[in-house]
Symmetry: C3
């Protein structure tokens, strides 16, 4: 595949500085770009190095000032939001394979199935009873879909994924392999020392435009639902317990764990390996640092770190003090001795 | 489905205060209950709000005193252990689907299989050689069962689960999807810088009434067994290394990791994201706090937190001091200056 | 199976002290060994207890001095590297089952497949288009292999594993169950509050002699590759993000998480539950302690612990000081009072 600078400029609405007839035939990172590559430079760190880039063409911000002398630079495309536009071209160069829009003969499909148009159901998929799939849904090999599940239009479920009964999956959702949706919550009643199983009668509800990473575990509600609202994205190996509610566009990075009945606000970000105790809430736009443990409610628009969590700025200060504790302790003991000396006078 | 208050009272051995002929047709949480719902209130927090509940009926503790005036309250069922009894009724309202008690035509079954009565083996299940399944065992779609595995009566294995060779699974065990039982332990011998594979000749043994969450990884012993005894429960994404022994009724919450050859006592609780180094032991009834790291033996009946772990009460104190370290450091330096001043006099 | 001491001595090149005709019929740990067992003792802790061992035979280091009186000891095999040689014999006693060297009828194989000799493809395996498998490759049941994947000679992929499109797997690799290779990286562009999906056009490259534990998630590069070089070993539930590069013979213990574009040197060890932020590098031979969080570059040959990480020795000191913070605070306040008293004089 190849595109001329002119064609690219048209797609991403860019101003060209250089040779419009020049063609590029691949899309690369700034470091790996060669004379056949398109790349992008959205911040100063890379813009400064433009004259050293061997790239065939570079997408830059709209406010980038063309220098008087072009000869030292690669071809330049000036546009709003270079990163987004770069990934738009990357997607054109990597169209992916079209799903086969057919139902494998060895797929096992239960009673009362209702499928939209152009669904793709691959080998060894198992679909329970009363399952509704929207248009263009793709179920890749070895996917399990339990009874009474609904899946919205344009949703793609990758191989070896498990969707247990009664789950409701929205439109344009992407679920990566190995993920389990609708496992039982971790809830028991105590009978002397024995833990008695609680029936988990609820379900998992996943909104539109949600992406769920590989090997996530999202438990069903005890009753009612565990709910990931529109636009939520989770990385790999994320655990979401029963009855958790995650509001729109929240991001959960890899290995995050959210305990039962927690409530997470809009646009909240949990960094890698962080977690949150049950029955707590965290307000809109708040951020939880890596490895942090949220053990109490967090208001909106906060940044917290540490375990237990505290304001991020405080945590930064403390992270600088802690390595100096041995020294501070020495000072403390030396002061003690000096005071003793003074007192003895 | 619906049940009258009278029918419910009979099932859970309750005293009724209200209209025995009233029928409920669903089971709800206290907050979500409406006039057709049964719910429960086991502690003061909810009992205080009984007069505000819109529930059709509420299960309360045996020592709850009926007020003089019933009119302001929903129908009341007074019983021992309201929570357990509530979940008993919830289970009646959510009977689940009966397994199909048949063997799918496309299941792949090895030599010398010995199956009990009424086993249910779903599509695409793979069963190796010399496998013994007890009565009423359920293997859901895409389950892999390796050679020489035994599974006890009434055990249910959810879809996309992997049981490697030689595993011994007890009776009434429930294993959630994505879990891997019997993977090799992480053990190598060093040959200059190269790590040479050690054969893991052992196996995994799982007792009766064990529940294992989704996407757990339980490694086989190097030799001998990795052993989860009767009544152990694990949440999702739990890692249990080779030759770990977990005694009866221990609880391992989500994302817990237990290193090789660790020994965990009866009724021990590991909170979310906590972990334990190898070759250590923790005594009966001890509790490990969230995100804690156990780096030395823990005696019975202790509560520990922190990384490295310490007594939980001490950790609570320290968690209050640490955010004040900047302030304490300032005091320390101001004392230093004051002492200098005194000394100069 | 049984082997005489003489036969074993020949295999592991050992000097015998005892009865060469004696036969052993199993291989056990030092503690579990009985009169029919071979075991080993490589360090003083066990060598001291040789006279108490009930083992039929014990492998000991080449520098072990035979005592004057053999009668109190089991049969002894003196050799270089007792542990390695012990596991060599263990492997002989546990040969494992030979793969079936056939292709299951119900395996689903795409167009343009190129398979080496003696491949074993089990039931319900799905293989996409343009897949190349080397000689003696084993794909166990329910494995998914996407389009354009290559797998080197003698590689074994355990059941229920997912290898997404374009992955390159080396020779003599072992991948445990539930693992997902080639899921999309966790990368989005921001469009107001909405996260827009970035195409992940790269792939995963895995070198020779790599072992990957159960339920790992290894994301493909955004462009270019995520790369595990020769001899890398990962334990269970490890997360490796897009474009991470892990150099030869590094070890990643269970539940480790490595963020995007991190670079890990040769022979580096990450202990359990540790992690590393993105775009950082850690030099050859460095070690990261359990639960540690690497938040800045680490030079070669360092040992670091804590979150954020610091030199391990410093962390040890601090771990001893932190539990004494309440006491130190008391001292601080008492000094303050004493100074006040002095000042008032």
């Amino acid at each position: 595949m190849q595109l001329s600078i002119k064609e690219i400029a048209k797609i991403i609405n860019a101003q060209v500085f250089g040779d419009e007839t020049f063609t590029i035939n691949k899309v690369s990172s700034f470091e790996d770009a060669d004379e056949l590559s398109l790349t992008f430079a959205s911040d100063l760190k890379f813009l400064k190095k433009l004259d050293k880039s061997r790239a065939g063409a570079v997408i830059v911000p709209i406010n980038y000032e063309f220098p008087a002398n072009k000869t030292i630079l690669p071809n330049i495309l000036r546009t709003e939001n270079p990163k987004n536009n770069f990934f738009k071209i990357l997607a054109i160069f990597n169209p992916g394979k079209n799903p086969n829009k057919s139902i494998a003969k060895n797929a096992c499909i239960g009673a009362n199935a209702e499928f939209g148009q152009d669904v793709s159901i691959y080998s060894n998929v198992y679909i329970g009873d009363n399952v509704k799939l929207g248009h263009r849904v793709v179920l890749m090999p070895n996917v399990f879909v339990g009874d009474d599940v609904t899946v919205g239009n344009d949703t793609v479920i990758k191989p070896n994924t498990t969707i247990m009964e009664k789950s409701e999956i929205g439109c344009s959702v992407l679920i990566h392999s190995g993920t389990v949706i609708g496992s039982d919550g971790f809830g028991f009643t105590q009978n002397s020392q024995v833990h008695e199983k609680i029936i988990h009668a609820g379900f998992v509800c996943i909104g539109d435009n949600v992406e769920i990473g590989a090997c996530n575990t999202i438990d069903r509600g005890t009753f009612g639902k565990t709910w990931l609202k529109n636009g939520v994205k989770t990385d790999n190996l994320v655990h979401i317990a029963h009855n958790v509610i995650i509001d729109e566009n929240a991001l959960l990075t890899a290995q995050v764990g959210i305990a039962g009945s927690a409530k997470i606000g809009k646009n909240v970000i949990f960094a890698g390996k962080s977690g949150m105790s049950g029955h707590l809430s965290i307000g809109d736009n708040s951020i939880v640092g890596p490895c942090a443990g949220v053990l109490a409610d967090v208001p909106p628009n906060e940044i917290v770190s540490g375990m237990p969590h505290m304001p991020h700025k405080l945590w930064l200060k403390i992270s600088r003090i802690i390595p100096r504790l041995p020294e501070l302790r020495k000072i403390l003991f030396s002061l003690e001795r000096r005071i003793e000396k003074i007192e003895k006078k």
